[in-house]
């Protein structure tokens, strides 16, 4: 098996479909950014959003580049904290995000769970639990079952983890298991230099997290996650290898978290050195610049895209604002799907 190689240069654009993929990924990134800015504003305004807001600012390129490789209804996706762009690229309607953040009864989580803890497992979109590292084995199991049933075809799975999440035993066990079973899965590792406030040097001691790929016996690639072109190329190749039976693909992205851990966090602990580093480039601005340089879009068109995204987001928010919230008296308080096995409560 080939050892970890590094691709730093941007997508060449050789492939015929590079431009349209770049454009659509850019649109997903942009919509994610606008949506999360709105959610942040609602959070700061107070009242409407209870609990936290966790945004993927700076991570949109890495996330979207994976998302565009996945085909909803065919591939399985287990997004994590900072994957709003990937979710949109995969095909999750932004209404799912808004409804879950606002706790609307109409959303996939029906107010039972919130914010990033959402999904539609039966449609291939896993709903993360909070415990980091624990989604990888679930995505792997879904692929395993399909292969067993003979209906995997060339479908793949994908999931994300952060630099901090790689320290969990759960992630290790699942990565090793996926490798043993040679499952077609892309594992994107976003090294945004911090786990909440904890810097890399308190999280791991290897030079590059991609050094772990060889230890699992899987392909490993590093990419500049602020460069959409590079991300598109890396994930496209990884998807190709996975669909062709190449087994798990570990993609490590280098970037910086451009927001607080959550909107409650001013991230004052991030040193200027990190903010001035290469990873600190805003992937959205970088992608925008390239669009203009390549002449794929002009300033007016970009401006219109923002306006369009804002319209979509505002529509979604105002629509959801009118939707019903959960009502404890109408709620079906049953944790089991087998109604006959549900216990009454023994209070008297």
């Amino acid at each position: 098996m080939s050892l970890a190689e590094t691709i730093q240069h941007s997508g060449t654009g050789q492939e015929a479909d590079f431009r349209p993929r770049f454009l659509s990924a850019y649109q997903h990134m942009l919509l994610a950014r606008v949506l999360e800015e709105k959610l942040g504003a609602l959070y700061r305004a107070g009242g409407r959003i209870v609990g936290g807001v966790y945004v993927g600012k700076g991570q949109e390129a890495f996330s979207a580049a994976l998302g565009v490789q996945l085909q909803k209804g065919k591939d399985i996706y287990g997004p994590l904290i900072r994957d709003q762009a990937g979710r949109i690229a995969y095909g999750e309607p932004i209404l799912d995000a808004v409804r879950t953040y606002l706790g609307a009864l109409t959303g996939p989580m029906r107010g039972r769970d919130g914010n990033i803890h959402r999904g539609r497992p039966q449609e291939g979109l896993m709903a993360m639990i909070s415990h980091l590292g624990s989604m990888l084995s679930v995505v792997a199991g879904a692929l395993f079952a399909r292969r067993l049933a003979g209906r995997l075809g060339d479908a793949i799975g994908a999931t994300s983890i952060g630099d901090g999440g790689t320290s969990t035993g759960s992630f290790h066990e699942a990565m090793n298991m996926a490798a043993v079973e040679k499952l077609p899965i892309i594992v994107s590792v976003a090294n945004n230099q911090f786990a909440y406030s904890t810097p890399n040097n308190r999280q791991f001691a290897c030079e590059n997290l991609v050094d772990r790929a060889a230890g699992y016996g899987v392909e490993g690639v590093t990419v500049d996650a602020t460069d959409l072109g590079a991300c598109l190329e890396v994930f496209q190749q990884a998807a190709k290898r996975a669909r062709a039976g190449g087994g798990p693909q570990m993609i490590v992205g280098r970037l910086l978290r451009l927001a607080g851990h959550g909107e409650h966090d001013d991230a004052s602990y991030i040193p200027d050195t990190a903010k001035k580093g290469l990873g600190a480039r805003d992937c959205l601005a970088v992608a925008e610049q390239r669009l203009l340089d390549e002449g794929w879009l002009n300033a007016a068109e970009v401006k219109e895209m923002y306006a369009e995204a804002r319209r979509k987001v505002d529509q979604a928010v105002s629509k959801v604002s009118k939707e019903p919230l959960p009502d404890p008296f109408k709620e079906n308080w049953q944790a089991l799907s087998s109604a006959d096995l549900v216990e009454g409560q023994h209070e008297a």
């Binding site: 792997a140 199991g141 879904a142 066990e173 699942a174 090793n176 298991m177 087998s338 549900v342």
Partner: protein, 321 residues
């Protein structure tokens, strides 16, 4: 021809695999080797490609079973010992148990826990974890005490569209036998009157059912008729059958092999005290293991868990009241 408790578990897995192509088995050493206790013996040959050896990764084992269930599979996961499910704990209580309630997605997985004490097994190969799992919403916890229940309740567990923790007692594996497996008698959720009586009720489950029956025999010599209720599943717990029995006898001993703080016996006693207070002619009693890890040496182990003599002594106190 006769069949043991352990063989019944193997037979049930055979039937589950035969009847439903969605069923597969995942666990350490369960394929060629047939499992540490041989509960899956030959199943890999009888069902090629459906019995898989897992790495020593309990967290990933459970996680993968959950993902498989989302895709319509009905995996049976074997923990080599119940004690090791402690490292698969998070996936069980936070991923499997919450999936349906959070996402409306059924999670039909069965996790087999070889449970309970045997001589010389020590602190980490003897545990009974039913109370730990029963505390969490979203799980069904079954504790078969007979060969028939070992068989039928495992088949029922696989058929249930929710995560089931199947606690099989290692102490019963080899020497608990039945002539053959009769028809299914009770569904999961219903307790069984293992022995009818008039003077006192023992509510218990799993291997302790047999110690309770022996103690009941002993008290019969003194002219007492002790009713023994086998819970069969601790969650859901069949409160109605428990209350009906206490209504007949007026006296309750809740018996379990697990640690004394909390657990099944506390749940039994508090349900009866809350819901059938006036049916009690004497204070309800509990008998559990001692509040230490489970000892290795048989001298200590025998004294750590309830025995026929400590159960009989407790019954006498209860009856003397």
């Amino acid at each position: 021809m006769s069949i043991t408790y352990l063989e019944a578990i193997r037979e049930a897995q055979y039937e589950a695999l035969r009847h439903d192509p969605a069923v597969f088995l995942y666990g350490q050493d369960i394929s060629t080797f047939g499992g540490a206790f041989k509960a899956t013996k030959n199943l890999d040959k009888e069902f090629p490609g459906r019995v898989f050896d897992a790495p020593i990764s309990e967290d990933a084992m459970v996680g993968m079973a959950i993902g498989a269930a989302v895709e319509g599979a009905r995996p049976i996961v074997e923990m080599q010992f119940a004690d090791f499910s402690s490292v698969g704990f998070n996936q069980i209580v936070n991923q499997a148990a919450t999936l349906y309630w959070r996402t409306n997605t059924p999670c039909p997985i069965t996790i087999r826990l070889p449970s309970g004490g045997t001589a010389g097994s020590g602190p980490f190969h003897s545990q009974s974890m039913e109370a730990i799992y029963a505390h969490y919403p979203g799980l069904v916890i079954v504790t078969p005490a007979t060969v028939e229940d070992a068989y039928w309740m495992l088949l029922d567990s696989v058929a249930i569209n929710d995560p089931v923790i199947y606690c099989e007692h290692k102490f019963l594996y080899y020497h608990l036998k039945a002539d053959q497996i009769g028809d299914r008698e009770l569904p999961i959720g219903k307790a069984r009157i293992a022995r009818p009586g008039r003077h006192a009720t023992i509510v218990t489950y799993s291997a302790m059912v047999h110690e309770a029956l022996r103690a009941a025999e002993e008290l019969q010599l003194d002219g007492y008729q002790i009713e023994v209720v086998d819970l069969r599943s601790v969650k859901p717990m069949d409160t109605d059958t428990i209350l009906a029995s206490v209504a007949r006898t007026g006296r309750l001993l809740a018996l379990g092999e697990a640690f004394p703080w909390g657990g099944v016996t506390a749940e039994i006693v508090s349900r009866v005290a809350s819901e059938a207070f006036h049916l009690l002619d004497a204070p309800p009693m509990r008998l559990n293991s001692k509040d230490t890890p489970i000892p290795y040496h048989p001298n200590l182990w025998k004294a750590h868990r309830p025995t026929v003599s400590t159960i009989a002594a407790a019954l006498r106190r209860l009856l003397r009241y």
